[in-house]
């Protein structure tokens, strides 16, 4: 376990167009937060689609991208991975410019979002972070 609490910023640009890229970023964020890192995920590009209500809960992180119930067990969706990250203390932020360009409002986004911030806010936090990861 690390002694120092690190500040990690993750830029999440992957989304529904590449479902197989949508679980690992949240898994890694959860892992880092579980080891006391201060983790923030900024959603942009196709990643903005993941934070729209009703989207991530229909995506499974597979090549097919579709969720189906196998053997009666509830499948783990991308939204489930996102909720794991939130439970571990990861913060979610959406890019204001991306949200505006898609004609979305706060009401259109999942309740797990901690804020809608301008790109400049992401830029500042990325420069001040101990680590910046892009997915």
């Amino acid at each position: 376990m690390l002694e120092k609490e690190l500040k990690i910023v993750i830029l999440m640009t992957s989304g529904p167009k590449t479902p197989w890229r949508c679980a690992t970023p949240f898994y890694i964020a959860t892992l880092m937060a579980s080891q006391e890192a201060d983790v923030e995920i900024f959603f942009n590009m196709d990643g903005t689609n993941l934070i729209k209500k009703g989207v991530a809960e229909k995506i499974c992180p597979s090549l097919e991208g579709n969720c189906f119930s196998a053997n009666g067990k509830k499948p783990k969706t991308v939204y489930d991975f996102m909720k794991d990250a939130k439970l571990a203390g990861v913060k979610f932020y959406s890019c204001k410019q991306a949200v505006d360009s898609m004609g979305l409002t706060e009401e259109d986004l999942i309740p797990e979002i901690d804020g809608i911030v301008p790109a400049s806010e992401f830029a500042i936090r990325a420069m001040l972070a101990d680590k910046l990861i892009t997915f």
């Binding site: 376990m1 679980a23 898994y27 959860t30 892992l31 937060a33 579980s34 080891q35 006391e36 009666g72 067990k73 509830k74 783990k76 794991d84 439970l87 571990a88």
Partner: protein, 149 residues
């Protein structure tokens, strides 16, 4: 033995159940102010077969609900939250080589850590017995479709 959806909850210990903190922990008083903690059978079923166990160091002080160890399965990773503020006095070296002991023997060899709180009586204040734990876990297992055995 109390149980919920086939998941046993031994009555010789207490439990810390807090879904908001993903805490589904058993707590057993060992004497000398030391408590052993581990995952309930419900928690180990939800986590899936573990592939990694990374505890904090012995001697580290942890606050309540802060991570004592990180556990990983193929599809899930998360902290094991401390049920109370305490010092970590021992970690389970057997889990480092065989994390799946948490799944195979959650109440025995699969223990997560041993903790020593500053005030053992206060530490026990928020813990519940097996029957109450089963009651608190019932909605969780229903929502997540958890079954044991």
């Amino acid at each position: 033995m109390a149980e919920v959806n086939g998941c046993p909850l031994p009555e010789d210990r207490l439990y810390y159940i807090n879904p908001d903190k993903n805490a589904f922990i058993w707590v057993k008083e060992e004497g000398d102010g030391v408590f052993t903690i581990g995952l309930t059978s419900v928690a180990s079923a939800m986590a899936g077969r573990l592939v990694a166990y990374t505890p904090k160091k012995v001697g580290k002080a942890v606050k309540k609900d802060k991570s004592v160890a990180t556990i990983e399965s193929g599809k899930w990773v998360g902290p094991v939250p401390a049920p109370f503020e305490a010092e970590i006095v021992e970690v389970n070296d057997a889990l480092k080589g065989n994390p799946a002991l948490v799944n195979d023997d959650p109440y025995g060899q699969g223990w997560i850590a041993k903790l020593k709180p500053a005030d053992p009586e206060a530490a026990k204040a928020e813990l519940v017995d097996a029957n109450k734990a089963a009651e608190l876990l019932q909605p969780i297992v229903q929502e997540k479709g958890v079954k044991c055995g």
